[in-house]
């Protein structure tokens, strides 16, 4: 495809070409941004060399951008996230990879105490991104399956995003990198290679703080994000045959949350189900439920329901993990219950 191709040809060709997997979209966003802006550097464990990270997101980056921009780190999350903060204070834009979202706790102080509070305290902006491969469903056990987003939503000074599609994966990474604040970008591992979608070649940034109505409907609203958007879409399809018309709000950004879109949908359908893979208890969904129970109370025709991970470490064995995570059936059943409430 050449930039000179006729527009008709181009859109056909590009539609074909431009189907990327979720993880390809992440790599592409990062590569494009790095070509555009020399201030962007990559820092994390195993991100360099031929290897390019545990999921190969930065494979080939060292060749293209050189070792000075692709910094392979010793196993020192607290130090290298803190170091990224210092780089950011000096005007660079580090994109940090934690190998799995689970290991973000090893740099907790650097994130929640230092980086998050810095601009408020003395005005030093910290424009970094942490890429955190999260979520489970693929038998990775309690320490390679976590969804720690709620902790960071509770932390003042951070932004938190969680794309559910290849296009959003690219668009939100662009926005996260360009944002002047510390942003935690939760990648959904189960979508990495299983989900493909059309991704605009030109970097179209998806604004942080904007939810997306992933499916329009009138009877009930599912508020969700990440991999559960797709489980919810499946459930919605399934029950549409039973005449239930489900609206699905994909939050995309968890902090700051797009309260308007959530509330508008709640007021429209009057019935709400919230779904995420993270622990239900004091999770992102609790905030959504609380928001709705306060500000859309008058519109509600049924209890606000939540589905989330159970309050146990994410178990390894497939039958246990299946029971742990909300399933398409769980979602469909919860929706049906709400509609007949």
């Amino acid at each position: 495809m050449t930039p000179n191709g006729s527009s008709g040809e181009r859109s056909v060709a590009s539609e074909e070409d431009r189907k990327l997997s979720y993880i390809e979209a992440i790599s592409e966003a990062l590569r494009e941004e790095m070509r555009r802006d020399e201030d962007i550097i990559v820092i994390g464990e195993d991100v360099g060399g031929e290897f390019g990270g545990a999921f190969n997101v930065t494979k080939g980056f060292e060749d293209e951008f050189g070792r000075r921009r692709i910094l392979n780190m010793p196993m020192t999350e607290n130090a290298f996230i803190g170091a990224a903060t210092g780089m950011a204070l000096m005007g660079l834009r580090p994109v940090i990879e934690v190998q799995f979202a689970d290991f973000i706790t090893s740099g907790y102080d650097a994130i929640v105490q230092f980086a998050a509070t810095n601009h408020y305290r003395w005005g030093g902006a910290v424009p970094w991104v942490i890429r955190a491969p999260s979520d489970g469903g693929i038998s990775s056990g309690p320490f390679h399956s976590q969804n720690p987003e709620a902790w960071f939503m509770h932390t003042p000074g951070l932004k938190v995003v969680a794309p559910a599609t290849p296009a959003d994966a690219k668009g939100l990474l662009l926005s996260a990198i360009r944002d002047n604040n510390p942003v935690i970008y939760f990648e959904s591992k189960p979508l990495y290679r299983s989900l493909k979608g059309v991704v605009p070649e030109e970097g179209i940034a998806i604004p942080i703080g904007q939810a997306r109505v992933a499916r329009e409907g009138t009877d009930v609203t599912i508020v969700t994000y990440g991999a559960m958007v797709h489980e919810s879409l499946k459930a919605a399809e399934e029950i549409s045959s039973q005449g239930i018309d489900t609206e699905i709000v994909d939050l995309r950004t968890l902090k700051p949350m797009d309260c308007e879109t959530v509330l508008a949908s709640a007021r429209k359908t009057s019935r709400i189900l919230i779904v995420h893979s993270a622990n239900r208890l004091v999770g992102a969904g609790a905030e959504v439920a609380a928001l709705i129970a306060d500000e859309a109370f008058e519109s509600l025709d049924a209890p606000v329901r939540r589905l989330g991970g159970r309050d146990v470490p994410v178990p390894f064995s497939p039958p246990l993990e299946k029971a742990y995570r909300p399933s398409v059936d769980d979602i469909a059943n919860a929706v049906k219950e709400l509609v007949t409430w």
Partner: protein, 322 residues
């Protein structure tokens, strides 16, 4: 450097061989698609895992990690329980809750199970040693960690605290030259991890990690010193990771020569050579041990594969102790 009788050395060989056979089988099961999730190989680490564990007493406590299959075996976790754990079965040590060698703990065998966050089991291992101090029990605690772990903050916090408390604590560093894809020189600017002991006043020693006699001798000495109130030690065992980081990792980033060099120093072949040189065993015994190990592992595979899956209804059981 000899601290083992011929008989003990044969026993040590049996453990190392069983470790190798089980490790090989795990690798092949996963390659055949019969595995669940990911898994690790500790190939090349047998002399460390077995040699150091063999120096412990039955009342001592140990915190092994993902390259220490041999340690779990020496302490008494059966291949059945290990394989059932790796396959996520109800009969595994963690009943399907934790993956591969993660979480393989059993207080009745003095084993503290590890978590992925490296090297988080070092501090509970130190805590066990502090409990022994408090109760004036002549017990020792040992932790295994990798070269990668030796750069973490926790490694240093723990060594320092162990030194201040003069805790009966031995840290075995398995320096296998890589932390995932990252070679030593990208991890640290020093040549020997043993130098890290000096930062905390912890006695440190370097040993050939592929020579089980040497590993045992040095560890046994450190254990004896710890037991008699002499405080903690750090033992750096130099070795090489012979497979990728985990089962899916082809380790293309490792220079082939390095593997060839270290293959020549295989710890099991090395011990066999010693047997013949010193005329300790006949070839037939080696053969016999190998067969015995294969039978044990065959049985374990069968056991594990025919074990039942955990009941989903048990999902929320056991989060809290009663």
């Amino acid at each position: 450097m000899r601290s083992l009788s011929d008989e003990e050395l044969i026993q040590v060989y049996e453990w190392m061989k069983l470790t190798r056979v089980l490790d090989d089988r795990i690798v092949s099961l996963w390659k055949q698609g019969r595995g669940v999730g990911s898994t690790f190989s500790g190939r090349g680490h047998e002399a460390i895992a077995v040699g150091a564990s063999y120096a412990l007493g039955p009342d001592d406590v140990v915190a092994p990690m993902h390259r220490d299959l041999g340690c779990y075996l020496v302490r008494g976790i059966t291949p059945r329980r290990i394989l059932a754990n790796q396959l996520g079965r109800a009969t595994g040590v963690t009943q399907g809750r934790d993956a591969n060698l993660h979480g393989i703990g059993d207080l009745s065998l003095g084993i503290i199970g590890f978590v992925s966050h490296l090297p988080q089991s070092m501090s509970p291992a130190l805590g066990a040693a502090m409990a022994f101090l408090y109760r004036e029990e002549p017990r020792v605690s040992m932790a295994f960690v990798g070269d990668g772990s030796s750069s973490t903050g926790l490694f240093h916090e723990v060594l320092n605290l162990a030194a201040v408390q003069r805790a009966p604590f031995v840290v075995v560093v398995e320096n296998n030259r890589y932390a995932y894809s990252t070679p030593l020189h990208q991890q640290m600017a020093i040549d020997d991890i043993a130098d890290r002991g000096q930062a905390h006043g912890v006695a440190a020693e370097i040993v050939d990690g592929n020579d089980v006699e040497a590993v045992h001798a040095v560890t046994a000495e450190a254990i004896a010193r710890a037991r008699s109130g002499g405080g903690p030690s750090l033992i750096e065992c130099k070795t090489m990771r012979m497979h990728g980081h985990a089962i899916h990792d082809g380790a293309e980033y490792v220079p082939a020569e390095l593997l060839v060099e270290w293959e020549r120093r295989d710890p099991i072949a090395h011990l066999e050579k010693i047997f013949f040189e010193r005329d300790i065993v006949e070839e037939a015994l080696i053969e016999e041990i190998g067969q015995k190990c294969r039978r044990i592992v065959d049985d374990a595979v069968e056991y594990a594969e025919s074990s039942s899956w955990p009941d989903p209804a048990s999902l929320e059981e056991g989060v809290y102790a009663p």
